[in-house]
Symmetry: C2
Subunit: 414 residues, 2 copies
């Protein structure tokens, strides 16, 4: 057996031990973890300094350095996050359905942990604590494999969490950290069929694509969002300008930010200048189709691939459409099934958009930026699923569970 | 684009057209399909004769020939199956949850079709009608790729179904049939990332393993069942003998049949002869561990791999255990997460078994043979999922749906 397989088997063993742990016991352990994270700031910051030094030597970008860097405040908010997970209701042991069959069998369906969850992520040390806490609260063991630039920081965080679990007389292997951050280790995780119940990639489009295409273990695809805001001809144009400004500019680096504005031809001449004006303070680069460019002197002609690009930046593609038919068809072709919004005062257009647009979250008269576990009232999330299997949209604790049937009989045979 | 990709894209287009079809319209179409299947018996039987002739020439086994063969009665029951699917409630458009957020956003979660479902199956023509009907009722388009020995029969059935849909002014491409039954075509289907929402293999262990290991599209793993019946020392021994007889012998070729009997040491001397006696009429081959062989003169010593084999035959592995600890640990190691049963009169053992055994269906005092969509009251099923993601246990119509969030706002921004 390889080291990775041994690690996964240790996680499996631990997962069995915590699968039926009472909620209070799990919450106590989570509070112990958050306390230890706070108490271990120095150790974690020292490991982080070493990561930063090594990364800078290797010529890391400032944006990446920022994601990698921990501060006392950031560790504090990481610990707060763990406490917040403790405050969420336990998703396991819920009675999902109950039937008494004509033959007397009593069939109950109950929620249970998935078992062993694998997470492959990038150089963001905070994911170690977030994902570890969410998996633990839902009764799962987790195999964490982060990006190599953050291996010292993430490893330090994982060790603190493991130690806290041990102090609570719980198996440290609920949280297993993969020290080997080579490409091979990721590949090996993707091959742990029967050992991992699910693999969740958290990170950029490249990482996600690689995991989706190479994993033999079931994957939940997260995150890529080419989100549209469609401004229909009856829209309240001020509302629409506000919404596109928020959807594009409030945090362009995240997956629920809008990348493309669709606008009805009839109102394009009036609305596009309003939209451009609303976003002026952010110097958004506007990439327009021919009709949009005719209205907007500052717009640059869009290349076809611009409508299939997740910019994650102050860049917006703009297309003028003839109406809902074209808008909905365009979203079907170019959307990634994440978040899509229409701004309209026409009820029938609104209902049609809600019905026909095939995405995790479909909005009428609101910003796409709301697609988020916290904003949906689910608490912390482990990412936003853009696939249709198992989980769709923000993945909270409930999405980290499966179910099983418990059947009680009195000797029934078939 | 390849032919397979074009086919999948046609299915995608059709899936959009039927995603929001009213239930009555779907039921009408299903009744039209069943009527046309009945009316087309001659055509289907002729195609089947050709399949059989070709298969016999190629030297097919009698068991396989039986699965392949259609008769007037079998077509009749296939049509009945389609009518039964029509009678099941529509699983789409269900309001799963509704929240009004403090900011006024109204967030609804509703069930929606998955989109395009791929099915890879073997030489069982009836799967064509079953799977086609279930996918259609749940608003999905389906790409059916059956085994080559049944390609004429399955193709004929698919053509009848497609024609019936067209007559109802519905897109025939809701049911797409892959004429190419080469290995390459299966492989190509497994690579249809973004074109298929899920791939479901239906068939033997080899097919399932190959799909699970090679598919880049999300897979639902179905079917392999190494199911145990554990007879605990307090069991009603007559009930236990009845249950093991039923679980092993009522239909040994199916996945919910028992493959292994575990029995407490304390009662092994008394119970094993009773069990052997109960199964005597079926001439079950008994493969025992040392202790079982000491009690059962007819038992043959079991090899270690016998405890990891899905016999699908009148063969039963038997192991004597010291009690619930060993039985539960043994099932954790050798079970496939399908169906597991305990026979006991001790409530605490029963509850512990229900809680700790990690399988799709866990039974107390009943046969494992009940793990079935019909027996669970779910109606027709598309297989039994042994994975934990998305679906676990019998997959009915509900398991062929996903969800989406519909959010209504009044201009909210974040």
């Amino acid at each position: 057996m390889t080291e990775m397989q041994l690690l996964a088997d240790r996680a499996r063993k631990a997962s069995r031990e915590i699968a039926n742990l009472p909620e209070e016991k799990k919450n106590e352990a989570l509070h112990a973890i958050s306390a230890d994270l706070r108490a271990s700031k120095d150790v974690i910051l020292k490991a982080n300094d070493e990561d930063i030094a090594a990364a800078e030597k290797a010529g890391i970008s400032p944006a990446m350095a920022d994601r990698l860097r921990l501060t006392s405040d950031r560790i504090e908010s990481m610990a707060d996050g763990v406490d917040q997970v403790a405050a969420l209701p336990d998703p396991t042991g819920k009675l999902l359905s109950r039937t008494v069959r004509p033959n007397g069998l009593v069939i109950e369906k109950v929620s249970v942990p998935l078992g062993v969850v694998g997470i492959i992520y990038e150089a963001r040390p905070n994911v170690t604590a977030d994902a570890g806490a969410l998996c633990f609260k839902s009764g799962n063991a987790v195999l964490l494999r982060g990006g190599k630039e953050a291996v010292r920081s993430s490893g330090a965080i994982a060790r603190v969490m493991r130690h806290a679990l041990e102090e609570q007389n719980l198996p440290a292997d609920c949280i297993c950290f993969v020290e080997d951050t080579s490409r091979e280790s990721a590949k090996e995780m993707m091959g742990l069929v029967g050992r991992l119940d699910v693999l969740i990639p958290r990170g950029g489009a490249g990482l996600i694509k690689s995991v989706v295409e190479n994993s033999k273990v079931p994957v939940i695809e997260t995150g890529v969002g080419i989100c549209h805001v469609y401004v229909e001809k009856t829209a309240d144009l001020e509302m629409a300008a506000n919404i596109i400004k928020n959807a594009k500019c409030s945090r362009p680096s995240v997956c629920n930010a809008a990348e493309c504005l669709l606008v009805d031809e009839e109102i394009a001449g009036k609305f596009l200048p309003m939209a451009a004006e609303a976003m002026a303070e952010y110097s958004v680069k506007l990439l327009g189709d021919e009709k949009a460019c005719a209205v907007l002197p500052n717009a640059v002609p869009a290349a076809p691939e611009d409508f299939d690009t997740e910019f994650l930046d102050y860049i917006l593609a703009i297309k003028v459409v003839s109406g809902p038919d074209e808008a909905i068809a365009f979203i079907a072709e170019h959307g990634t099934g994440h978040s899509e919004a229409v701004v309209t005062r026409d009820e029938s257009v609104a209902e049609r958009f809600l019905r026909e647009v095939d995405a995790a979250a479909v909005y009428v008269n609101a910003s796409t930026r709301f697609t988020d576990g916290g904003e949906f009232g689910l608490g912390a999330e482990l990412g936003i699923s853009t696939q249709k299997l198992h989980a769709r949209g923000p993945m909270g604790l409930a999405e980290l569970t499966s179910s099983k049937y418990r059947i009680r009989g009195t000797g029934q045979i078939r």
